[in-house]
């Protein structure tokens, strides 16, 4: 998080937190959802994989982010992940990693 925007974010987050903490409607973190939900097509809903593809749930965000970075640079050899990881910015990778480690 950039320091210059932290005050705005803190203010912006207040109604969001109220919603999450007990009002009728849970707030949707649209951006994380947009980026992370397609992963479920292979890794399972919320990263809980029912088959042979590695799960993402329960992994630390640091591990997911560094794996994605390594796939992106080619340092780690995979199958499709080398091609898919190149589709995301470093910031998006962090956001997605946080989503699955929740």
């Amino acid at each position: 998080m950039k320091k210059t925007t932290s005050k705005n974010i803190a203010l912006a987050a207040i109604p969001l937190l109220l919603l999450i903490s007990g009002c009728a409607n849970k707030a949707v973190d649209y951006r994380s959802a947009m980026l992370a939900n397609p992963c479920a097509g292979c890794h399972g809903t919320d990263g809980v994989s029912p088959g042979s593809i590695p799960p993402l749930n329960g992994l630390s965000s640091k591990y997911i982010a560094s794996s994605m970075q390594d796939f992106k640079t080619g340092q780690r050899k995979g199958t499709v992940m080398n091609r898919i990881a190149k589709g995301y910015t470093d910031e998006e990778i962090k956001l997605m990693a946080n989503t699955f480690s929740k």
Binding site: S21, N25, V28, N37, G41, C42, S52, I53
Partner: protein, 426 residues
């Protein structure tokens, strides 16, 4: 907020960093009874209904699908090739209704009135909606190939819908003699599942090589190139040099007519007497999209590329194969990610929010043998040109991939199938 630890609090702050750009969930939207109706229970529809409820459990979500079970087109080639049975590709809606709170109605939608926001079903029932999501899949252009109509498809199956057509093609392969000819005739673009005909050819050849080795698959193609072509052809040279022949459209592959009575396929006026003829006709959006006036002159549904809302009728979204999604292929995976993005867009619109980012993915595996898989993938973003793949990312796998990579991709193909069908129905 009591149950929320400091770490989680900070995490939410972190992920809320985009909120400035996309606006905030509205507090006034506290008791939603908005009615969202989803028509079609496949990769787009089932996923969309489930994710609408995940985003907002207070929404009133109804899913309308004709049958109590859904047979997937993905992995139907494995049934046709004898690697799986029908129950492997047959799913139901029990968890969508029992666990996720979706009202599941088994009926066929016969009319949609965008002005009054109501639809009618074959059973006589009418239903109102605030938003409608149409994920109807494909229909066929029965007039496109001379001699190939619905009646002809009973003996020359298209098998491009999962179900009885899948069973029919498998039975014909089992019954055909050793030495017989299997013709597969794929259509020109655009059509559902671009690599599908070539995976089918591979798995039929796999079956023939073992059980009817004097038989052969002849692909009479309307096109001169096809999806994952170098990877398919490399593998065919290795595994099926005597069992698959591909004829491009400009070199005699384009069908001129078929004769269902004699099971003969004519291409460039050359006659091919087939033991099994799998004719995959040109396609268009399924009929309800036409009835509802949601299609263009080419027979597909134009949409707003961000929200997938029809550009013809407001409050009606079209996702999956029926929609025109620029560069996204008509695939189950595309429909699945379109469904989730569309569900988020609908929830945002009902709350008066705007979403600042759009992102979709397609990953598609094809099997050449049970232990040899290939893939294509792309990450898609919104641009002035529509939904475009991110440059420098995605693409097909390398031609020189190791045997271990091919084995892993075959393993992941099945992992993908389990994951996506659980994401839809689980």
């Amino acid at each position: 907020m009591n149950s929320m630890g400091r770490r989680r609090f900070l995490k939410i702050l972190g992920s809320a960093s985009a909120l400035g750009a996309m606006g905030l969930p509205s507090l006034s939207f506290s008791k939603s009874t908005a009615r969202v109706v989803v028509v079609g229970g496949g990769f787009g529809g089932a996923t969309c209904a489930k994710y609408l409820k995940r985003f907002d459990p207070s929404l009133d979500v109804t899913l309308i699908s004709p049958a109590k079970t859904f047979v997937t087109c993905p992995f139907s080639n494995m049934v046709i090739g004898g690697l799986h049975k029908m129950d492997f590709i047959t799913h139901n809606y029990k968890k969508l209704s029992g666990v996720h709170g979706v009202n599941v109605v088994h009926d066929t939608v016969t009319a949609i009135d965008p002005a009054t926001r109501t639809l009618r079903m074959a059973g006589g029932q009418s239903l109102g909606f605030d938003r409608l999501v149409l994920s109807p899949g494909i229909g066929f252009q029965w007039d496109a190939i001379e001699g190939y109509d619905q009646a002809a498809s009973k003996t020359m199956p298209h098998s491009w819908h999962g179900g009885s057509q899948t069973v029919l093609l498998r039975k014909q392969l089992e019954a055909m003699p050793n030495g017989g000819l299997v013709v597969i005739a794929p259509p020109a673009n655009p059509f559902r599942c671009p690599p599908g005909p070539y995976e089918r050819a591979s798995l039929i050849a796999h079956y023939l090589k073992q059980h009817k080795p004097r038989s052969k698959v002849l692909i009479l193609d309307a096109k001169d190139k096809f999806s994952k072509q170098p990877l398919f052809q490399d593998a065919w040279d290795e595994f099926y040099p005597d069992h698959i022949e591909w004829v491009p459209g400009s070199q005699g592959g384009t069908l001129t007519r078929v004769d269902a009575k004699t099971n003969t396929v004519y291409a460039d006026d050359e006659a091919f007497k087939a033991s099994v003829a799998n004719i995959i006709p040109p396609q268009k959006a399924a009929s309800i999209a036409h009835t509802a006036g949601l299609t263009n002159a080419k027979g597909w549904c134009p949409i707003n590329k961000k929200t997938f809302e029809s550009t013809i009728h407001k409050n009606i979204h079209v996702i999956g194969d029926a929609s025109i999604a620029t560069k996204m292929p008509k695939s189950g995976f595309s429909a699945n990610t379109q469904a989730k993005a569309c569900a988020a867009e609908i929830v945002a619109a009902l709350r008066g929010d705007t979403i600042g980012v759009s992102s979709w993915v397609n990953t598609c595996y094809s099997l050449i043998t049970p232990d040899y898989g290939i893939s294509v993938a792309a990450v898609y973003r919104l641009s002035e040109k529509g939904i475009m793949p991110v440059k420098g990312a995605g693409g097909v796998g390398p031609r020189d991939a190791s045997r271990e990579t091919r084995r892993m991709e075959a393993l992941y193909a099945e992992g993908w199938y389990k994951a996506i069908t659980t994401d839809m129905f689980g």
